[in-house]
């Protein structure tokens, strides 16, 4: 159920609606006008809280304002600041306000201005309204002003034209009058009503309403309110006739049944409550949220966002860690398998000790016979090797040959040494051949050649 609550100055009007197949159905309607309506309201709210899906509220007229401003067509931020300055200048800083852009209007010169409909509500009043729902499990989804919500109803009833329209909610002890022209809320007033017993011909009421209409004509010269919509408990045909006679305006009857169905016996439909039920909170320009609620919402959003981000990071990290842990576990298992197989192979190798030694000797010993034959072959005639050494140093076979070259003269002997070195270089068995030293001994040359085996 959508519970719509209209806080009039001395009454609380409540109506509950249900949406059925796109249309509204009035479930219940009541007025709280006891000496302490707020206490009664609290009790009522607790009683039916289980049936409530949503709560919408319109505030008392006395703490609201509605004004049209004309603001130069500026960039959004500057425009908002200009509008805020205008509102503050007109009503002070204690109001929370919302606005609706009514479109362009020609300004001085070639400039373009924008016509802005504003509606404001006192912050303290809004907080007080919000506070009334402090104990309720369901908080209002929207607060608005009485004229702003009523405008939606007038639009739905197709009453808004270029001709001004006065909407009168005749009630006791106050009557509320709102004058609309198209999308503009031009006048909103609340007048005290003299009881019908003391004002049987309703002349006092007619006079008050007429004064309001006159005020409108003075404020908007050349414009006259020609249509009056009468709603409320006191809108009898007698009152309608008197008002038609006194103001000269056409009386348009308020017909809520065209919008909302009533259940069982005929029930009064408070116009403001019906208007609230018609609104779409997501697309309504004049939906107010108390600052305390805004703060709470902001904190809730911040907490939710922070929690989501933190949770997201935890999840990402947990996923990454679990994936890496899984990889590590798989690697450990794989490594364990390999180690097991290695142990099996090693056990088998223990049984093949002699074969191992044979293999090792075969692969690490140089071909001795070939080396000795090759060494003999590299010595040309006239060269004698005095000593030959081949030893294993750090897994490499290194050798050294000391010899004596005996040529016909020193040059021939030196050439013989060079030839020996060349022969070593040409051999596929030797590598890194170097002449370590050579020394003339008469015409003979003693030399030492170092080399490595190419294995």
């Amino acid at each position: 159920m959508i519970l719509c609550i209209d806080f009039a100055s001395k009454k609380i009007k409540i109506a509950g609606f249900k949406r059925e197949k796109g249309s509204l159905k009035l479930i219940e309607s009541l007025e709280l006008s006891t000496s302490d309506p707020e206490a009664a309201f609290g009790e009522y709210l607790n009683r039916i809280s289980k049936e409530i899906d949503e709560i919408r509220v319109s505030g008392a007229l006395e703490s609201t304002f509605h004004r049209i401003f004309t603001i130069p067509d500026l960039k959004k931020k500057v425009f908002t600041q200009a509008l805020e300055a205008e509102v503050t200048k007109a009503f002070g800083k204690e109001h929370q306000f919302k606005y609706r852009d009514l479109g362009e209007v020609p300004g001085p010169g070639n400039k373009i201005n924008r016509k802005i409909m504003t509606a404001g509500i006192k912050r303290s009043a809004l907080e007080a309204l919000s506070q009334m729902f402090a104990d309720s499990p369901i908080k209002p989804s929207m607060f608005t002003t009485y004229p702003a919500s009523l405008h939606a109803l007038a639009r739905k009833l197709q009453l808004l034209t270029q001709e001004p329209l006065a909407f009168l909610e005749l009630d006791s002890p106050t009557t509320r009058i709102v004058i609309f022209k198209e999308d503009e809320i031009r006048v909103a007033r609340e007048v005290n009503v003299i009881p019908e017993e003391k004002d049987p011909d309703r002349s006092a009421l007619a006079k008050d309403i007429y004064r309001t209409l006159l005020f409108y004509t003075e404020t908007y010269p050349n414009e006259m309110v020609t249509r009056l919509v009468l709603a409320g408990n006191s809108s009898s045909s007698k009152t309608a006739n008197i008002l038609a006679e006194k103001t000269g305006a056409e009386i348009v009857p308020f017909s809520p049944e065209t919008i909302a169905q009533t259940e069982g016996e005929t029930q009064d439909v408070p116009p403001a409550c019906l208007s609230l039920a018609l609104l779409d909170p997501g697309h309504f320009d004049f939906a107010f949220v108390p600052l305390s609620v805004q703060r709470k919402t902001k904190i809730r959003k911040t907490v939710t966002l922070s929690f989501s981000v933190t949770l997201g990071i935890i999840l990402i990290l947990a996923l990454a860690v679990s994936r890496l842990s899984m990889n590590l576990k798989n690697l450990n298992v794989y490594q364990g398998g390999i180690q097991g197989e290695i142990r099996m192979k090693e056990d088998r190798l223990k049984e093949l000790g002699l074969e191992f030694v044979s293999h090792s000797i075969e692969t690490s010993q140089p071909p001795w016979s070939e080396i000795l034959l090759e060494t003999a072959a590299v010595a040309p005639s006239g060269v004698v090797f005095e000593s030959f050494v081949l030893k294993k140093l750090k897994n490499r076979w290194q050798g050294e040959i000391v010899g004596l070259a005996d040529g016909s003269d020193e040059i021939s002997s030196l050439l013989l040494v060079e030839k020996v070195q060349n022969n070593f270089n040409k051999s596929p068995l030797f590598t890194q051949v170097r002449l370590v030293e050579k020394e003339l001994q008469g015409h003979k040359v003693e030399f030492k050649i170092g080399y490595q085996l190419d294995m």
Partner: protein, 178 residues
Amino acid sequence: MRKEKLIIVGSVFLILLLLFLGVKRIRSLQVQITEQKESVEKSSQRLEHLRQLEQSLELRRETGRVLCQIPQAEDPIASKVLMGKFIKSFLSRLGLEAEVKVENERKSKDFPDVVTISEVPMRIGIKNYSSYDQLMNLLKEFRNFPFMIEILTIGGTDVAIPGILRIQLKYYAVPGGA
């Protein structure tokens, strides 16, 4: 506003702490994974090497290309004497007069621990040889036994034993291989 700031600051601190701890843990795991991968790589290489070695050794056993072992005694001194005599006799059969020095048997470091092989270091100094062929025949005969020549010198002094041809070598003894 103050509450929101507190929540944001708290959340940022928590997120940074989580990121710090998470990244630290992830890095630690990555390092462990890298190390384990290297370890697996090494183990795989070792396993492959062992597989190939095993195949080769099995083939060697099947084809009978296995060296002969010199008989050894239980007593190390007796074994040492026996070894010296065997070498001398072996060289004598090849027509070579030589001096032989045999050292004590010890555990060989040339083989992995999985196979228990000991080595007997020895030096041979051949005083004379008649031809190159005789020398090559000696080296060829050596190939029938588990001898590992470390130094061979003709006319050099690198091996501390008298002789024209000096050889420093090891004899590998395989338990139960004789």
